[in-house]
Amino acid sequence: MTENTGKPAADNPYAQFYVVKKGDTLSKIAEEFYGDKMLYPKIFEANRDQLTDPNKIKPGQKLRIP
């Protein structure tokens, strides 16, 4: 198997996605998917192709949830 880098590759058909809603933050999303809001950097790192600041996400953005 390939080395685990902590996030599935962009073209991974088994990756989970979440569409940002109004009022969402990466912390909230991390709490929903991981049970722990402090794990939000995992989501940020997995979406560096569309996020430059973990505090700036927009409704409608489709985020990969590793």
Partner: protein, 193 residues
């Protein structure tokens, strides 16, 4: 009179010897032809239809033994059946080849797909393992089960990969089992489609 009797006796013996020699000749030719055919099919036979091939080899060995014991009648009686078995072997090889090709193609597809499934599951298991608490839809038991499921997937995938070159059908069967387990694990982690 005595000369005629002697002549008849000699003629009878000559006929007997000629008959035996012809039987030997026929048996030898028939068996040689079959052996040549079977030998030419050995590589493909062992690869695509090993059971049928070994059956034919075994029967051929028995008839060769009869030939060595000068039991030409048995050889001549047995060659038609052996010829049928050789024809069946050709069919079995062709069928085996088709199955091998189909399995190889399916393996090619699965070998691109299944590692991605494992990667996605591994990533989530690693993250949840470091979480202070788990999300509402994932219990500790579910996470533990996902971890052992993932371990099983990885070891079975390794077995599938090892089998792929020579036994693609076996590799595909294992790959399907890995994928089925993966679907269960994804669902347990709340990652199902």
């Amino acid at each position: 009179m005595r000369f005629a009797k002697a002549f008849l006796a000699i003629a009878a013996v000559t006929l007997l010897v000629t008959g035996c020699a012809r039987q030997k000749d026929d048996a030898t030719k028939a068996l040689t032809a079959i052996e040549t055919s079977v030998t030419s099919m050995k590589d493909e036979g062992m690869k695509y239809a090993p059971v049928a091939y070994q059956g034919v080899e075994s029967t051929l060995a028995t008839l060769k033994d009869s030939l060595a014991k000068e039991d030409y009648k048995s050889v001549l009686a047995g060659t038609p059946e052996l010829n049928k078995a050789v024809d069946s072997l050709k069919t079995a090889i062709a069928s085996g080849k088709e199955q091998f090709t189909a399995a190889t193609a399916e393996w090619s597809s699965m070998s691109a797909d299944v590692p991605k499934m494992v990667e996605a599951i591994q990533s989530r298991v690693d993250i949840l393992s470091s979480a202070k608490k788990l999300p509402k839809n994932v219990s500790k038991d579910a996470l533990d089960s996902a971890k052992s499921g993932l371990d099983w997937m990885k070891s079975t995938w390794a077995e599938a990969t090892a089998a792929a070159a020579d036994k693609p059908a076996e590799a595909v069967e294992k790959a399907r089992a890995v994928k089925a387990k993966g679907a269960e694990v994804l669902a347990a982690l709340g990652m199902g489609a």
